[in-house]
Symmetry: C2
Subunit: 263 residues, 2 copies
């Protein structure tokens, strides 16, 4: 009998979030599940790692199931590092992160703790997927997407992923009947136009809350934003080689060495 | 007379770090400088943003010079957002981040607060550069690189940068005489092999310190790591469209929609 795959599960909303509970339930139908996830919400942590503080990790029981679970005081990237180096008996066959409460499509991938965990596993050469549902609420309903999450995970286990590529999967917040299917996409060009809410504290000092409005700058029908708006689950193959290879030749033409004025 | 360029300066080592002091000094010779930088070190913060806490920003005097300076309680990405939305009278002509104490070459770009600030400005469409010196110490000597930092900045002001591209500049820790020049590079494939230093706290609970060894997996002579090892300043054009465009066709061939088993 073939051994079951070892699946590392993590997230950025914290180990008690409904999203990771849904993901654990799905992964238990595929393989042996070990959860190493933050003990508190870490949204917007980007690819932060803990350098100047200590890390705690302890085995916990969250809910019924065959999975083993560890709660960690660090960031999502810390969780993956600790899992691989300290908590797993062998290399996981796959790492899945999420299901995030809220979108990690388009530019959100840059700020995403969910995707940073997936990328961290990708850097280690482990096939890896970040899953997100476009519902920010704690009462988000993850039932509609379970078959899709399972299928995408099983396909990554079957085909593998090339070194340097992880999948960024986003799921529209609609019913199972309304989901039109899966669409392979590119990351839409978008940004957040921040509005800082300026207030005065009881001591008379100004302070700000960061808030903002998401702006899609990209009309392309091959983008994740288009897919999500039109009822598809978006899958973007994402890489952590940030090199803009196409711009190297142009940069060379600037002839920077010629223009340096050494004193 | 042509107006002087408006230069936004930030970093991740904190507003008092010698590296940003050196950068401010260089930028004062090019344009009008406004500093908005973290009030404390933020290394390893990746692209974190502050969503669940308040942000303070106050004008400060750090040292002599014509620059205006603000100290901010947030992350490097927060600093850039606050600068653009709240503190600058007009859009900056360029954003420079650093000079970081320590390398942001190869995979370090992913964890880098210095580069996250540059990328944040890039998302806003502002030409942007992250500078880093390969010396982690607070007594790092930034004298060797001032002409190069100035030249690269002036060239970006002159030529601009395409939307979606920022420059990641790393400087070897050698004397001015030893620096061989500037080399346009791609990001080397590399990772950190972590070693978690496990200790026991006075209450008998295990905790960890994250430490690790950098491993360059890439022998290419066109990489930033090669350039730095051979006495060059590396310049990598870096992008925040993470899409692995070359893998989209292959992913489509998996035919994911066919294999979904809808209950």
């Amino acid at each position: 009998m073939k051994n079951k795959p070892l699946i590392l599960v993590t997230n950025d909303d914290g180990i008690n979030a409904p999203g990771i509970r849904a993901l654990v339930k799905i992964m238990n139908t595929i393989g042996d599940v070990v959860v190493v996830a933050p003990n508190s919400p870490q949204s917007g942590m980007g690819h932060a790692i803990t350098l100047d503080a200590t890390l705690y990790v302890e085995q916990v029981f969250v809910n019924e199931g065959p999975q083993t679970e560890y709660s960690c005081s660090g960031t999502p990237a810390d969780c993956v590092k600790l899992a691989i180096r300290e908590k797993l008996d062998r290399r996981p066959d796959i790492c899945v992160s999420g299901i995030n409460h809220g979108s990690n499509a388009s530019i959100n991938v840059i700020y995403s703790g969910t995707m940073s965990a997936a990328i961290e596993a990708g850097i280690e050469g482990i096939p890896s997927i970040g899953f997100s549902l476009l519902d920010y609420t704690w009462t988000a309903n993850f039932d509609a997407c379970d078959d899709y999450v399972k299928t995408i995970t099983e396909n990554v286990l079957k085909h593998g992923l090339p070194n340097g590529i992880v999948l960024n999967v986003n799921i529209p917040n609609i019913s199972k009947e309304e989901i039109k299917g899966i669409k392979i996409c590119r990351q839409a060009r978008a940004n957040w136009v921040e509005k800082f809410d300026k207030r005065i504290n009881p001591q008379g000092k100004d302070y700000y809350w960061l808030s903002g409005k998401f702006v899609n700058l990209d009309g392309g029908e091959d983008t994740d934003e288009w897919a999500l708006e039109h009822g598809y689950i978006s899958v973007v193959p994402s890489q952590f080689d940030l090199t803009a290879h196409h711009f190297i030749e142009k940069l060379n033409s600037w002839d920077l060495n010629k223009s340096v004025q050494i004193k």
